[in-house]
Symmetry: C2
Subunit: 131 residues, 2 copies
């Protein structure tokens, strides 16, 4: 992505909270733990995966990610490119690297973040491939 | 998408302003006018198209959409599924139907809306295909 010089996008405390959540997501993929991955989402979260209908609610998100892991997702890295605060929400624009079987995929994403149960979590999650 | 019963998501005035903007986008595609389509974006808007790197700024968004029209995009319809207000922004989750040459494509999208020049415009726009 073409971006300007790096700047403080949100207060350090919020940035740290976001990093904690994103780190859990990456660890969940490394550990092949769909329950752990689904826990970074709010209970009413929605994901909009490419090549698939939208999936609503954490209970439905668990089997979605379990199936993706089953089909070869073994590693995930997330890089925050921009954060736009808006009321009780934050919008994160980011880039992800996925290991799917023997392939690497470069992905970009937009996540709407919301606080729930004392943590910043993913409330709407949409992504697509660069290639 | 699986959604609950319809409810008033934002005040009628804002919903009407959003509809005006979305109607312009659909008309711009029907008229094959990339300048008109780019005008529904904020000046610093970002689009994250599938199969393409992110594109930043209205000036860069114009040639992107001109090329997509050139390659066969002739019709666009937009359906708002949900709107989440947050401070100075709105997040819209929606569904789109695109006519690309002789094919129809079902697309879902997330748009972060922001007010600029007296209108609600698209500030971050990401989408992907259902199939």
């Amino acid at each position: 992505m073409t971006e300007g010089p790096k700047r403080a996008m949100v207060a350090g405390e919020i940035a740290a909270a976001m990093k904690r959540t994103n780190d859990i997501a990456c660890r969940a993929v490394a550990e092949q733990n769909a329950d752990m991955l689904a826990d970074v989402y709010t209970s009413e979260a929605r994901i909009l995966p490419p090549g698939h209908a939208a999936v609503s609610g954490r209970e439905s998100i668990i089997p979605f990610w379990a199936a993706v892991m089953e089909s070869g997702l073994t590693a995930l890295t997330l890089t925050t490119v921009d954060v736009i605060p808006g009321g009780d929400y934050l919008t994160e624009v980011g880039e992800a690297q996925l290991t799917l079987g023997t392939e690497q995929a470069a992905v970009k994403y937009v996540v709407l973040w919301k606080q729930e149960d004392g943590a910043w979590k993913w409330h709407v999650d949409i992504w697509n491939s660069n290639a």
